[in-house]
Amino acid sequence: MKASTTNLNKRGYLYTGIGLVTVWGIVAIAYPAVVLPSPYETLLALLELSRTAQFWHSLGVTFWRLTAGFGLALVSGVLLGSLVGHKLVAYQLLRPAVLVVQAVPPVSWMLLAILWFGVGGGAQIVVVFLALFPIFFFHIAQAVRQLPTDLLEMAKVYETGWIKTIRAIYVPAMKPYWISALAITVGMGWKTIVMAEVISGQTGVGAVMNTSRIYLQTDEVMAWSFVVACLGVVSEAIVRKLSGGERHDPIR
C-alpha cells in the first residue's frame, strides 16, 4: 500500500514535469527567446554554462555563503531556542524581537545589510542568517517546550542515564521539529542567498544571473533559476532522506 502510493507519487512528479515542460515549450513558440526561452534553449544555455569555470566558481562562492549563514543561524537558533524553551520568561522576552526579525522582508534586510556591512559578501551571509535564524529559534523552542515530561520523569525514576535519555527521548521527540526546521531552511536558504546576490553581488550565482539579465540573456537567467530550484529541492530531499522523514503532504 505504502509502496504503491510512493510509486504513484513518483510517477505523478514525472507526468507533472513532462506536462509543464510541454506547456512551457508550446507557449515559448509564441515569444522571442529574450522574453521566454524554450526548454531546449534553456537546456543549451545550461550545458554551455556548465562548461565554463565561472559557473562552478559562482556555485562554490554561493554555496560557501549559504553554508556560513546557515551555520550561524543553526548554532545561534538552537542555542537560543533551547534556552527559551526551558525558560518561559526568556521566551516571552525574546519572542517579540525574533518575530520582528522574521516580519521584516529579506529584501529590506538586504538593503540595510549593504549599508551596515558593505557589498563585499558579508551582507549576503547576514541576510541568510536573519532569514533562517527565526525558523531554527521557533522550531527548537517549540521542540523543547513539547518535550514529553512524563517520559523524562519515567527515565529519571528508572535511572537510565543521560546518554540513553537523549537517544531514546530527546532525539525522537524533537525529531519532527528538526526535520521541519532543516527542510524549510535549506530550501529557503538557496532562494534567499541568490536573491541577496542579485540585489548586491560582486560574485556568486545571483551576481552572474544579474549580469545575464542586463545582457538580455534570458536563457541563462532561466538556466540558473532551474539550477537553483534543483539545488533547493535536492538539499531538502537530502535532509529528509538523512533524517528518514517523508515530505508532509497536507492533502493526504
Binding site: 520523569e153 529519571k156 525514576v157 528508572y158 535511572e159 531514546a168 527521548i169
Partner: protein, 225 residues
C-alpha cells in the same frame, strides 16, 4: 528503611500534607487509600524523588526503584519489546530472554513487535507493569496500576504481582481505590486522613513486624529544604 518524616507539601497554593510522618513496612506491600485528590500520587512522586516536599524529608532505601504510573508512559517510537530493552544495560546477558519472559508473564508475549499506539489501554498498562518489574526493584511504587483492566486480567495481574513479590520481596507502595484489591494484595492497608493530610489510620495489618527478619538495608537520606 523508608520513612516520610514531617512532610509538608503545598500544591497550587493549597496545603496537601502538613507535618505528615509515615514509615511503611519494608519488604511488604502497603496499600494506600484515601479520598481522591488527597495526595496519594504526590506521596508516591515524593517517594520517587520526582517532587520535593516544601518541608520535611524522605528516607528511601538504596537500590532500584520501579514505578507504575497512572498512565502507561511508554515511548511511542519504540515497540513493546524495545520499551523494555532500552532500560537494561547494553551488556547484560540474556536481556532479551528476560524481557520476553516478563512480557509473557503479563500476557503480552504475542505483541512484542507492536507500537504503543497499536495497543489498548489495558495492554499498555500491562507493558508498564512488566517494565516496573524488569529491573528487580527494591522499592516499587504503583499508582492505581490495575485501573481500567477487566476483571480476569486484574486477577492475573494480582497473581503476577504476588509471585514477583515472592521472588524478590521488594517494598511496595500501592495506591488504590478498591478495598477488595487492597485486601487481596496488601499486607498493610493505610488510609490517609485529614485535609491537609496530617496522619493515617491503619485499616488492616496482615503481618507483624516482618522487617525484623531482614537486615536493614543501607539507607540514603535526602534532606530537603
Amino acid at each position: 528503611m523508608i520513612r516520610f518524616d514531617r512532610l509538608s507539601v503545598t500544591y497550587g497554593g493549597k496545603s496537601v500534607f502538613a507535618n505528615f510522618s509515615f514509615q511503611p513496612a519494608l519488604h511488604a506491600i502497603t496499600c494506600l487509600m484515601g479520598r481522591s485528590g488527597v495526595g496519594k500520587t504526590s506521596l508516591l512522586r515524593i517517594a520517587a524523588g520526582l517532587q520535593q516536599p516544601d518541608d520535611g524529608c524522605v528516607i528511601r532505601p538504596e537500590g532500584r526503584v520501579g514505578y507504575v504510573f497512572q498512565e502507561p508512559r511508554l515511548l511511542p517510537w519504540f515497540t513493546v519489546e524495545e520499551n523494555l530493552m532500552w532500560l537494561l544495560p547494553n551488556r547484560s546477558v540474556q536481556r532479551k530472554a528476560r524481557v520476553r519472559a516478563l512480557l509473557d508473564a503479563v500476557g503480552m508475549g504475542a505483541e512484542t513487535a507492536l507500537y504503543p499506539a497499536q495497543l489498548s489501554g489495558g495492554m499498555k498498562q500491562r507493558v508498564s507493569l512488566a517494565r516496573a518489574f524488569l529491573m528487580s526493584p527494591r522499592f516499587l511504587l504503583m499508582d492505581e496500576p490495575f485501573q481500567g483492566l477487566d476483571k480476569q486480567t486484574r486477577m492475573n495481574m494480582y497473581g503476577l504481582l504476588l509471585s514477583l513479590w515472592e521472588a524478590e520481596k521488594p517494598t511496595v507502595l500501592l495506591v488504590t481505590h478498591d478495598l477488595e484489591e487492597a485486601r487481596t494484595l496488601g499486607h498493610h492497608i493505610i488510609k490517609l486522613t485529614g485535609s491537609p493530610v496530617t496522619g493515617y489510620t491503619e485499616l488492616a495489618n496482615k503481618r507483624m513486624n516482618m522487617e525484623d527478619e531482614w537486615n536493614e538495608p543501607s539507607i540514603r537520606t535526602e534532606q530537603l529544604a
